[in-house]
Amino acid sequence: MNCAAIKQKLSAVGVEAISETEYARKGFALDVQVAPEQLVAAVSLLDAEGFFIEAVTGVDWLGEQAALRKETEAKVAAEAKAKADAATAAGEEPPPAEPVAEQGELPEDALEAVYDFNHYESFCRVTIRTRMPRSKPEVPSISQIYPGANWHERETHDFFGINFVGHPYLVPLLLPEDADFHPLLKDFRP
């Protein structure tokens, strides 16, 4: 069992992106990005290889798209400015400013579910991420494969409101029984 073999097998499942990360820098060995539909296949493969589940959690990427857009706009502006500067330096007439490309509506921000798996015998921490739109946060449950994921998914549902489809008992775990808020969402206000 080594990480390279797992990487090959996982890419055969059809994941979106997979990369080996530097352990000393990051703390995990494989970084896998999958679409929600591929999640169960990827996790079943890890189960067959004898991995154990470490944790399931979520990340709320609210405002990420806006930040990305700002970044690209800044980049475009910087490039245009550099061009203009170069032209003035060369003694030429600066070219007319290019019209800024019309950008459509911002794409929706995403919620991310992060799954950590590790192996008892040899070290290989696999991090699986899957992204879903914030308005419809749904991802298949893996509690049929790993019963231990049951609680982790309930906790993630508590904190982020991610709906684990197929979960047998998706009620609040840490929050009060009647809680209808998701405190770790970035737009949560009590």
Binding site: L175, P176, F181, P183, R189, P190
Partner: protein
């Protein structure tokens, strides 16, 4: 404060009341009721080195119906608050409450703007007689709290005070 709900007897004997108070103060039975970190210090106070038994307070009772004093040792979360209140209500009169540690006094380090999970102090739920600050307080502080309660019950202190220099 602890005896506020008690109906005063119709015929009262001052000397007998004093004797009763002395008896109560020297056999305070606390409830085994650990919430968080401070509960470990409460255990340490009951164990060999500090030995709460010297003050008659070693009989930790698991049932609220046999207790005189509730030591709230730890953070009260909103989910737990209902249970804590029930326990307080189940205790027979006269009853006293010691809030041990900063969390039980005011929510302690877990108070922040926009917090959604904890009760900011045991005195929001029921009257508290003795406050012991610290995070967690040392066992000596809990002993001091018991002695403070003794003083409150009897009106005088039998034990020497320790001055910290």
């Amino acid at each position: 404060m602890g005896t506020q709900n008690l109906q005063p007897a119709i015929v009262q004997f001052a000397q007998l009341d004093k004797l009763l108070a002395l008896g109560r103060a020297n056999s305070l039975w606390p409830m085994t009721f650990g919430l968080a970190c401070c509960a470990i210090e409460m255990m340490a106070t009951g164990a060999s080195r500090f030995d709460l038994a010297r003050f008659g307070a070693e009989v930790f009772r698991p049932s609220p119906r046999q207790c005189d004093v509730m030591i709230v040792a730890g953070t009260i979360s909103k989910k737990m608050a209902a249970a804590v209140e029930t326990l307080y209500d189940q205790m027979p009169e006269p009853k006293w409450v010691i809030a041990m540690g900063n969390c039980a006094i005011s929510g302690g380090p877990f108070v922040f703007e926009g917090q959604y999970g904890i009760v900011e102090g045991a005195d929001k739920l029921f009257p508290v007689d003795v406050f012991i600050p610290g995070c967690p307080p040392r066992p000596e502080a809990l002993i001091e709290g018991i002695l403070e309660l003794e003083e409150k019950v009897t009106g005088s202190r039998r034990w020497p005070r320790v001055e910290v220099g």
